[in-house]
Symmetry: C2
């Protein structure tokens, strides 16, 4: 092998890093990074989710977090590759307490990006493959209990005579994915969910709903969808999958249970969580509390004069169960996000007369075009064939710092606008207000910054283009009458149904309601990068605020996001919780300050 | 690459086979086989499950079945390997209507064994991976139905206003595995099962029951167990898995439904199947009928004088739900198979005074020793690491003709007797009657020949050895008194509980009951190889009688076996049924004659 193969280059770089770290030389280690180099760490060194941006901050992180964690055993995994002046490779490493996996990109011999993530805690590994449990003892013992007896005992006792270490509030896919990780790590956990059955938060939505992301992006941990699973899961099908998953992963899932409030006892280091389970008040006393409700507990309804006088049906999109009652009726849908489009489409399919009211611009992309230009490289059959499993795809996304992402994403959206130029021209012709993000960086960045503002077209755009769904845009809402809605341009739309697809509040609202204003203000805003774009005020922090990492409130955590984020980050939140349960030291580096009162 | 690499040798052999078959030269093709060569075909050429033993029969099969099927595109898959004078490789091929996969072993340049199996029917492939369904249409359509509506409609109509193509009687793992294959092939199917819930046939057994085969051997098709699944599944855990599997595979599973009888109308080519579903009589009219009950509908109870006068509990093992009621009581278990051992162990664990009555010899093997010497090479983490997936392991088992298997298995059982010599000596010391099969060929051959006669030790043997479970062997049963059982040697054992672990009738009994004596006699014995060993009378047929292949009764099939056999052979039975539904010609070669009245 020649001296200059990419693999050799990476191995040499790792050897140099290893040597510098072994001799405690933070300056020497940082010198291996470019001036614009990044080190992103998911829990392995920082017990936090942190990106050090630029050589100066990298050096500080090495000094304060990396060296104390005693890193070692840096090595390349597989072969490195080179393209466009960037050499990249997967890497393995260890700390005193954990094993880690990461990804390195070199530019001009220096690190451009280094991602380090914690894979497992030494001595607390999941039992799987060769270390899986036996399931039975091959020896007779008096008084031995069967699996069923032990499982029934756990269900009967946990939360009643014994206390869980973790309570997760919210049993959607986020709470369930985290619950599964904690189960595999033997962390006693109860998931509290107000709906009866796992999957109900999907089941109860409008009937035409399908996942807008493709199957390769949507796997839960441990049990991937089988090969025949459809590209876009219908809501009831994914709901059934989630329900079976909860069962076979043996999660302690308290359905029909509402959380009424929680408070932390600083001296006891214990939460008091008040819940009502099937009508019966109960108190849980976990050490750690995770909020995984999303914001969807708080539908956002603008207050409109006259709304209370409306004689037809007035609903938030979250309450809208379907179009069946509206055949031949007049419907007005306020909003232009995914739910608005889906609801308009289903109403039109049922034979309603539908008008969409668009108040602000929206990013629209055709599903197939978006796939081809963005996700397909990471989450598709093509990606799988190239060896990019879902886990590797998750890591590749994580490997690119948020600072760099917009400039990487923007070109795809330029191509998209060219590819579907006629489609976009047609949408604008009927007055639809389009955008592609303030800096043209597209859907993923919108999702990270403000959690919405886009529609992945699955059919409604063509209905808007040819007028089968009517569109009123560049208008606000003036008032609601007995049988109509009046817009700011004076238009009066007769209506039997008005749906407000106006989105949701954020998790801040949930914190204030459940934990009180004090905790909400201490913790501050949840989600968002601080990009200074609309709805995502600065300062820049390089990471999502408060998600999956320690907050200013001790023993209190946020979990959530789409299936991809829930799957990927549940690993790191679970390891943080497990470490605390096992009294592994978890010195947090760079705990984010709070800039915004919630 | 040198001329003599194993891969080159196999490629040359396949090219010669291809050439001979292309020119219609059966003699030339057969000449590529050794005199003791075998060609085993699973459905791809014979529309049957057949082994041609020796060059003469191989030539006949080529002439009558292989040439008419128009084979082509023979090629090696991956690299061949060589060991001990045998070169082996995976192969691919096609026929006019199907794609196939197989395995070849060469000895001295000639074929020793060739396995050919059907993978898929051209034009009727399963939709998976790149061809999976979209799950939703990305276009709006009036009157379009959601996944849930379509699924509910199917459940409401199938078997009521529309008729399934296939009815499977018996919804254990066998019926469910076959049902899943048929679902993926779009063959409308109803599974009829007398228990309420999928998995109940496991749930209702004694509480300590765990699978005796390890997890790698037990996967269902399409959704493998996750990596953390225990080696030996507890019965209620496997039951939950089966229940969720039935749900997410969207099987039409009629629980709480008993089949009362069925008759075939030769002119209409249609079955009339009478069932009682949740108490309501109904008639199903499928084209094909599959019996997948196993024999377990027919517990075998020897008739013992005085049994009706017994004042304690007298149960067949299938009725025995657990030891809870027998703490401090006296229990006698008749039999020495797996259930007998398990039930004795559980009774002892509960604190009962237990005696086992052994009437005939039994093959006993310690679980870990058996694994190391037999299954581990094919079904284990080690095998997986060597690239032997479960599917490949199934094919490797299928690749060895039944004629050859005993001589391959016997050495492992010789090693086993040496390895555990002290264990066996101790068992014999307390009077336990041991065997390793009449020809020393062990468990798998016993299972194929007579479907039982062994115990994989999971703890009971040590209890027998040290007398915690008492043993009476080399005796029969004389009579039962009010409170005791009397053996043929005059011993009287006081008893509060007598369990007959005396096994089950065979599927023949089920046929006679459901389809009448005429069909039962036409179809003859089910299972067994005709090895002329005890319980498996000749003549030799080279294959299991009547299993997974056409029978003498048109449109009537048997399915079953342990999880491995159910998984593997469900593929070939499903393809046979699919071909018939699609009117693909299915000329059956070598339909087995019937030698035994059932």
């Amino acid at each position: 092998m020649s001296e200059t193969t990419p693999t050799r280059q990476v191995s040499d770089w790792l050897a140099a890093l290893d040597a510098a770290l072994k001799r405690g030389d933070a300056a020497g280690a940082a010198a291996l990074f470019g001036d614009d180099g990044y080190w992103r760490d998911l829990v392995s060194f920082t017990w936090n989710i942190t990106t050090a941006e630029g050589k100066v901050k990298v050096r500080q992180m090495i000094e304060d977090a990396v060296l104390p964690a005693k890193p070692s055993a840096w090595q390349i995994e597989g072969e490195a590759s080179e393209a466009g002046g960037v050499t990249e490779a997967w890497v393995r490493f260890e700390t005193a307490v954990a094993r880690g996996y990461g990804h390195l990109r070199l530019k001009g011999g220096k690190a451009w990006t280094l991602l380090t993530t914690m894979s497992e805690l030494k001595g607390h590994e999941e039992h799987k493959g060769p270390t899986r449990d036996m399931g039975t003892e091959h020896v007779a013992r008096r008084g031995s209990k069967s699996w069923l007896e032990r499982r029934q005992q756990e269900e009967a006792e946990l939360g009643i005579t014994t206390q869980p270490y973790v309570v997760i509030i919210g049993g959607g896919q986020g709470g369930i994915a985290l619950g599964a990780r904690l189960k595999r790590l033997n962390v006693p956990t109860i998931i509290v969910e107000k709906n009866e059955r796992p999957g109900d938060s999907w089941r109860k939505r409008y009937k035409s709903l399908c996942l807008h992301d493709p199957v390769w992006y949507d796997h839960l941990p441990y049990i991937p969808f089988p090969e025949h699973w459809p590209v876009f899961s219908p809501k009831d099908k994914i709901a059934d999958w989630i329900e079976m998953y909860t069962k076979v992963m043996e999660l302690n899932y308290w359905g029909g249970t509402e959380c009424k409030g929680a408070r932390y006892d600083e001296s006891k280091k214990e939460w008091t969580v008040e819940v009502v389970r099937n009508g019966k008040p109960m108190t849980l006393r976990p050490r750690q509390l995770v909020l995984a409700t999303g914001g969807s507990g708080f539908p956002y309804m603008p207050s409109v004069p006259g709304a209370d006088t409306f004689k037809g049906d007035l609903q938030h999109s979250s309450e809208h169960t379907g179009p069946e009652a509206y055949k031949g009726k007049k419907a007005v849908v306020i909003g232009s996000n995914s739910s608005a489009h889906d609801i308009c489409e289903a109403l039109w399919e049922e034979g309603a007369d539908v008008t969409m009211v668009q108040r602000g611009s929206t990013l629209v992309g055709r599903s197939a075009s978006l796939g081809a230009l963005t996700l397909d490289a990471l989450y598709s059959e093509t990606a799988l064939k190239a060896g990019i499993t879902t886990d590797k795809a998750d890591l590749l996304i994580a490997a690119t710092p948020y600072k760099v992402l917009p400039s990487l994403h923007a070109p795809a959206y330029e191509k998209l606008q060219k590819l579907d130029a006629e489609f976009y021209a047609n949408l604008e012709k009927v007055g639809f207000m389009l955008d592609f993000g303030e800096d043209g960086s597209g859907i993923y960045m919108k999702a990270m910054r403000v959690g919405g503002g886009y529609y992945i077209d699955t059919g409604a755009s063509d209905l808007l283009i040819d007028g089968r769904i009517k569109l009123k845009s560049r208008v606000g809402i003036e008032r609601i009458n007995h049988q109509s809605i009046v817009l700011t341009d004076g238009t009066e739309l007769p209506a039997d149904l008005i749906v407000f697809a106006t989105g949701y509040g954020t998790m801040d609202n949930v914190v204030a309601q459940l934990l009180g204003r004090n905790v909400a203000e201490k913790v501050g805003k949840v989600w968002g990068l601080g990009s200074n774009t609309r709805g995502d005020p600065g300062p820049w922090e390089g990471e999502l605020r408060n998600m999956w990492k320690p907050t200013q409130q001790e023993a209190f955590w946020f979990h959530g996001g789409n299936l991809h984020l829930s799957r990927h980050y549940s690993q790191f939140l679970a390891l943080q919780l497990k470490a605390r349960m096992e009294n592994v030291p978890t010195p947090v580096y760079g705990l984010a300050p709070v800039h915004h009162r919630s």
